[in-house]
Symmetry: D3
Subunit: 134 residues, 6 copies
C-alpha cells in the first residue's frame, strides 16, 4: 500500500543516511518509522521535511514538547490523516500524555468539531471584539 516505491536500501544514499542518523540521534532511538523510509524516494524532500519537523517539534520553544504533539494530533484528526494521528499519538504518549489527557484531548477535538460545523451552518458574523487588527 502506497503511491511511492520506497528505496530498498535507503541508507546507501549518503543524503538519506545523514537524515536517518540525525533522526536517530535527535530521538535517541534506532527506530525509523515509515514516513521517513518512504520520503527517502526523494532525498531533497526528505531533508526539507525533516529539517522543518526537527525545528518545530524537536527544538525547545514556547510550548512544551508534549503539548506540541497533542496539538499536532488535533490537526491530524481534523485533516483526516490516519498515519499522522497514529504516529503523533504515540509520540505524545512517549512524552508523557496520560490516558486522562488523551481522553481530554479527544473531548476538545470532538466538541470543537461539532461547533465548527454549527458555525459553518449558521455563518455567524465575527464579533468586532475578536478582531486583532482594529
Amino acid at each position: 500500500m502506497a503511491t511511492i516505491t520506497p528505496p530498498a536500501a535507503p541508507e546507501e544514499n549518503p543524503r538519506v543516511k545523514a537524515v536517518f542518523d540525525d533522526i536517530r540521534a535527535t530521538r535517541g532511538t534506532d527506530f525509523i518509522n515509515n514516513v521517513w523510509r518512504y520520503l527517502a524516494f526523494d532525498p531533497a524532500l526528505l531533508e526539507s521535511v525533516w529539517s522543518e519537523v526537527k525545528a518545530v517539534m524537536a527544538t525547545p520553544s514556547a510550548i512544551d514538547p508534549k503539548t506540541k504533539e497533542m496539538i499536532y494530533v488535533a490537526v491530524s484528526i481534523a485533516n483526516g490523516c490516519g498515519y499522522c494521528t497514529h504516529s503523533h499519538t504515540a509520540a505524545a504518549k512517549a512524552k508523557g500524555m496520560t490516558p486522562e489527557e488523551h481522553a481530554d484531548l479527544l473531548r476538545v477535538v470532538g466538541t470543537a468539531s461539532r461547533l465548527n460545523a454549527l458555525l459553518g451552518a449558521m455563518d455567524v458574523p465575527v464579533d468586532p471584539a475578536f478582531q486583532a487588527d482594529g
Copy 2:
C-alpha cells in the same frame, strides 16, 4: 450575514435567559458573543451546545484551560471555521497565551498540515508499533 435570523430579544425566552445567565456567570463577563445570540433561534440546541462547551472547556480537567483553547484553535483552523478561530484565539489570549506561544501554535499547525498532506499523497502504511490495540 447568516443563514439564521437571530431573535431580536432573545432573553424574553426564559430558557435562553437561563443559558445567557449561566454564560455570564461562568465567564465572569456581561459579553455574550454572536454564536450564542444566533443559536438562541432554537433554545433546545442552545442548551445542548452550551452544556457541552461548559463541560468540556469551562470545567477543570486533565488539560489546563489555556491549552484546551489552543487545541480548539488548532482544530478550528484545520476545519476552516473562521468564527471559531477568532473566538477561541481571543479566549486563549484571555487565558494567558503569549505572542510567542501563539506563533508556536501556528508553527505546529502549519507543519502538521504540510505533513498531513504529504502522508495523504504517499499513503504510507501505519507502523505496527503505533497500533494501540495489538
Copy 3:
C-alpha cells in the same frame, strides 16, 4: 470579491442566454443568483454545471426535493462552502423546510461532525457487519 470577472452582459452570449432561460423556466422565477452569473465566464462549464444540477436537484427522483436540498446543505457545511450553505438553505426553506427541521438538520450535522472527529482520533476498525461487499 472573486477570482473570476463575470461578464457584464452575460446574455449577449446565446449559450449563456439559453442556460439562464432554462434556469428561469425550471425554477419559475426571474432571479438568477450569482453562481450562474460568474460561471458564465465559461459557457461550456456553465452548461455542464447547470445540466448536472438540473438533473440531480430539479428532476423527480427517489428522494423528495426538500430533503435533497437539506442533504446538499449538510455537505456544503462539512465542505466549508459558505455560498452553497446560504443558497441551498434558502432553497430548502423555499421548498418547505420548517424552522424545526432546520434546527434538527443542524443538530444532526453537529453531532455527526463530533463523532466523525472522535472516530478519526481513535481510528476504530470497521465492523464486518457493515461491509456490503462480503
Copy 4:
C-alpha cells in the same frame, strides 16, 4: 488498528455496562459496534457521546429517522470518516433506505461536492437575498 486500547471486558465497569444496556434497549439488538467498545476506554466520554447520539438520532424529532441517517452519511462522507459512512449507511438501510434512495443520496453528495469546489474556486459573493439576518 487503533490509537486506543479498548478494554478487554468493558462491561465490568458499571458505567460502561449502563451505556451498553441502554444502547441494546434503544436499538432492540444485542450488537454493540466497535465505536462504543473503543469509547469505553473513558466512561465519561462514552456517556457524553451516547447521550448526544441518543438524543439526536434515536429520539423522535422534526426529521424522520431514516432521513437523519442519510444526512449523517452525507456529513461523514464530506468529512472523510470511513467508519461513520459505513455504520450510518448500514443504519439508513436498516431504517428503510432503498437502493434507489442510496444512489440518489450519492448523486446529491457528488454534485454538491463539485459545486462546493467551484464556488470555492471562484469565491462568489453571497446574494443579499440569501441573508437571513437582514
Copy 5:
C-alpha cells in the same frame, strides 16, 4: 470493504456494458478499475460520472492530459481520497509523470497545505489587487 455491493456480472446490464466498452476504447486497455465496477450498482449514476470524467479528463482541452492528472491528484490528496490519489497517481505516471515531477508535485501540495493552514489561522484580508471583479 465497501458500503455498496457491486454487481457480480455487471456487463449483463447493457447500459453498464456500453459504459465499460467506452472506457476500454477510450483508454485502450481491457482493465476496468474498481470505481467503475462499484458505480455499476446504479447504471444512471455510472453513465453520468463516466460521461463527466471522459469529457474533462479524456478530451483534449487547454491543459495537457498529464497536468490534468497531476491537478486531480493534488485535489484528491487535499480532500483525503486515498482511492483517487492512488488511481490518478497511476494515471499521471502512465501519461509520463517522472519521479522528479512526482516529488515536485508533493512539494507544492505540502507547501500549499502549510500556507493554507497559516492563512486560516491568521484570517488575513484579501488584498484588493487580487480581486478580479473590481
Copy 6:
C-alpha cells in the same frame, strides 16, 4: 479582520526587512501582499515560510512555474483557503494562465471533488495495480 495584529512598521525589524527585500528582488515588484505583512508579527516564522515558498515556488524545478501555481490553487480550493485561492490565481495569471486554462483548472477541480466524494461514499478497495510498493 484577522487574529493577528500586523506590525505597523514591519521593516524597522531588520529580519523582516531582509525578507521583504528578498521578496521584492525575487518577484521583481515592490508589492508586498498581506500574508507577508501579517506573518511579520513573528520574524522567525516569516523567514521559515518565505524560505520554503521561495524554494518550492520560485526556484526552477521539474514542473514549470505556471503549472505549480495552478496546482497550488487546486490545493487551496480543496482546503478552503480563500486568501490562497485569490493570491495564487493572481500569480498563475501573472505567469501566463489563460482564461481557457483557468476554466479547465476549475473543471478538473470540480470533477475531482465530485469523484472524491463518491469514492468516500462507496469506500471502494484500491486496485492492487495501483500499489507502488508491491
